[in-house]
């Protein structure tokens, strides 16, 4: 790949509000055409970061470059970015058409061109025919499309979206996730989205920056974030996870072992770059633990082939079950007393009848499933 210039370059940016540090020395490069997501819990500073790109907040320290230009002295109305607000901020006293055409009118675009570009933008967000409506005659999802069209019609270099789907109901949200991703593909504009919803982030993003307490906890594509979390915060925040503290007892280039409190011996078929006997954490996703159906010898043998005997194996009692349709979640109390969360896909229609409360069960996981975390 040729060396590309980032469309947005955030360099050592910090933002302090009085004694509170909202953003702490963050550096991120966002490439043209990317669907970039800032993911984090509420109050982590992700929205402040987005507002600094838009120009509504000024960094206390550091530099933000858009398309190679320093934005320090550029006010929001002169920046080549547009924002879709969390509340959508659709002007209530204007029709849909007037809303979408507002920016073009200010840019002194001719009225014929405004008309055609507004129509084009409304078609893009599937709102053709709604031009004469007023915002109070629209549903939440439609208002959001108006906000989208209003920004897209400006042909910005970067579109900023602040929690774009948080005000929609679950079904609509899922649909809009796909539509946003499609739309981004279609217009080719760089999208930077802020969200606290990990499903939203995973499904839409090309790359995700997980923000914790104003710092970047990890910056990676969705699957890396989920399968190779860099630290406990990311492992826990993205998806659900079983976390156990342990000591590294074996660490060679092709294998490693951790003695975990509560979970027992964990074997890995790859090395860990940690020092011997150091404290580490083992993270295992619930869906990567296989629950053995009584009498199913095949799964049991598979476990033994994958790891030395006594490793990656546990017994326990089912303490809780929640049937979610596509999967069933089990809370299993191990013999050590520790709790383990296991999920099991319901591959056939009677799978949920295999287990019930207080069943004694055994389970195993593959040697490449656990992730060892050093921090």
């Amino acid at each position: 790949m040729t060396e590309q210039q980032p469309i947005i370059s955030i360099r050592n940016v910090s933002k302090r509000f009085g004694p509170v540090t909202a953003v702490d020395n963050v550096s991120i490069d966002i490439m043209p055409g990317e669907f970039f997501v800032l993911l984090g819990p509420s109050g982590c500073g992700k929205t402040t970061l987005l507002r600094m790109i838009a120009g509504f907040e000024m960094p206390t320290e550091g530099q933000i470059l858009i398309d190679g230009q320093d934005m320090a002295k550029v006010p929001p109305n002169r920046r080549p970015v547009n924002m879709v607000f969390q509340s959508y901020a659709v002007f209530p006293h204007m029709t849909v058409e007037q809303n979408v055409g507002y920016g073009l009118k200010i840019a002194r675009v001719g009225s014929d061109e405004i008309k055609s570009r507004v129509a084009e933008a409304l078609e893009l967000v599937k709102l053709d025919g709604f031009g004469a409506r007023r915002p109070d005659q629209l549903s939440g999802g439609q208002r959001q499309r108006v906000a989208l069209a209003r920004s897209l019609v400006m042909r910005p270099k970067v579109l900023l979206l602040d929690e774009p789907l948080s005000a929609l109901d679950a079904k609509l949200r899922a649909q809009m996730q796909f539509e946003l991703a499609d739309l981004q593909d279609e217009v080719g504009i760089t999208f930077v989205t802020v969200t606290h919803d990990q499903d939203e982030a995973l499904s839409m993003a090309g790359r995700i920056a997980v923000i914790n307490k104003g710092e970047v906890a990890q910056l990676a594509p969705p699957s890396d974030l989920y399968e190779f979390p860099a630290n406990r915060f990311v492992a826990d925040f993205v998806g659900s996870v079983n976390l156990f503290e342990g000591k590294l007892t074996l660490d060679e280039p092709d294998r490693a072992a951790v003695e975990c409190e509560g979970l027992g011996k964990v074997y890995l078929n790859h090395g860990v770059t940690g020092s011997h006997q150091s404290n580490v954490w083992v993270a295992i996703r619930p869906e990567k633990i296989y629950l053995h159906v009584p009498g199913d010898g095949k799964a049991f043998r598979a476990a033994q082939e994958d790891a030395p005997e006594g490793y990656n194996f546990a017994r326990g009692k089912i303490r809780g079950m929640s049937y979610l349709g596509d999967i069933t979640l089990f809370d299993i109390q191990l013999e050590s007393g520790a709790m383990l969360r296991v999920s099991r896909p319901n591959l056939s229609r009677r799978d949920q009848e295999d287990f019930t409360w207080d069943d004694k069960v055994s389970m195993h996981w593959r040697a490449d499933s656990p992730v060892v975390l050093l921090s």
């Binding site: 838009a54 901020a89 006293h93 920016g103 906000a147 209003r150």
Partner: protein, 300 residues
């Protein structure tokens, strides 16, 4: 809340006292004055309700219509200045930090704690020939005037005090001073409700601050502006004390004329007719406001 139909006893208990109060001290006196406006002076102390319209036809004399028209102009000028001054003040309070807001609002309301008469006399102290305004200007004139030759301009002569009192300027200045809080408070209420992200969205789409103010903030604050206009305009139109104390011989307003009819001229029927003409003018203004604000609400 329960409908008054289903809780008649409760409703009666709550409503009787205020209703009687309003009837006894508002409707009845107003009715008496209304009747007077159709009467004639029978003697020095007696008024005969003769059903004549002569008081009204006298009130439509160009002399009085001129004063009424002038009162409307003065009240309108007051209202416009109050908007121009009050809008930035209200905006500043809305965008100030939460720590400061209550104090700034308090500062706006503080003048209400002082008697109007005292405030007006204080204005006289500021505006008169040897008042604080002229003193300050004179000081600036004497001290900075010496600098003018340095930049090549001729040195000014002795300071000539400005005539700030007993003219129309003083009346409008005084009315603005008195009525500004009435404008700022409804404007503040309307602007405070405004979703701030609408302003940011406008800036984000390329509009400058002034454009945003005109295209987004002002239309959305329209109900507040209209109620501010009405509660400034109506009392300004009927202002009595301010033009009486601050005005010159040609700056009397309709309320001063009415007062003179009731007191010095002892022509109560004519004063009553003038009062009602003023009241009709006010009603028309309020009806106009109600119509406008309904339109504004329908638009939102």
């Amino acid at each position: 809340m329960e409908s008054w139909r289903t809780a008649k006893g409760m409703f009666a208990a709550v409503a009787t006292v205020p209703t009687l109060w309003l009837i006894g001290f508002f409707i009845v006196p107003l009715g008496i004055v209304w009747l007077y406006s159709f009467g004639t002076n029978a003697s020095l102390t007696e008024i005969e309700i003769s059903g004549t319209f002569s008081n009204y036809s006298r009130a439509l004399d160009p002399l009085y219509l001129g004063i009424l028209w002038k009162s409307i102009l003065v009240a309108a000028a007051t209202t416009v200045i109050c908007i121009v001054v009050g809008f930035p003040v209200a905006l500043a309070i809305v965008f100030s930090s939460n720590k400061w807001k209550p104090w700034l609002l308090l500062a706006i309301m503080l003048p209400f704690w002082t008697n109007l008469l005292i405030r007006t006399y204080a204005l006289i102290a500021v505006l008169r020939r040897e008042g604080y305004a002229n003193q300050s200007l004179g000081w600036l004139h004497d001290n900075l005037g010496g600098l003018l030759p340095l930049v090549g301009l001729p040195a000014p002569g002795a300071y000539e005090p400005l005539e700030l009192l007993y003219n129309n300027f003083a009346v409008i200045f005084g009315l603005v001073y008195v009525h500004l809080p009435f404008m700022v408070l409804p404007l503040y209420a309307a602007l405070d409700r405004l979703d701030k992200s609408l302003i940011e969205a406008s800036l984000d789409l390329g509009a400058g601050h002034f454009r945003t103010l005109l295209a987004i903030v002002a239309p959305l604050a329209a109900p507040g502006i209209i109620s501010g206009v009405i509660i400034t305009f109506v009392p300004a139109l009927g202002a009595y004390l301010t033009p009486d104390l601050l005005g010159g011989p040609d700056s009397q307003m309709i309320a001063n004329v009415i007062e003179r009819q009731f007191k010095r001229a002892n022509d109560w029927p004519f004063g009553a007719a003038l009062s009602f003409i003023l009241m009709y003018a006010t009603f028309i203004a309020i009806a106009f406001q109600a119509m406008k604000s309904r339109q504004a609400e329908a638009r939102q």
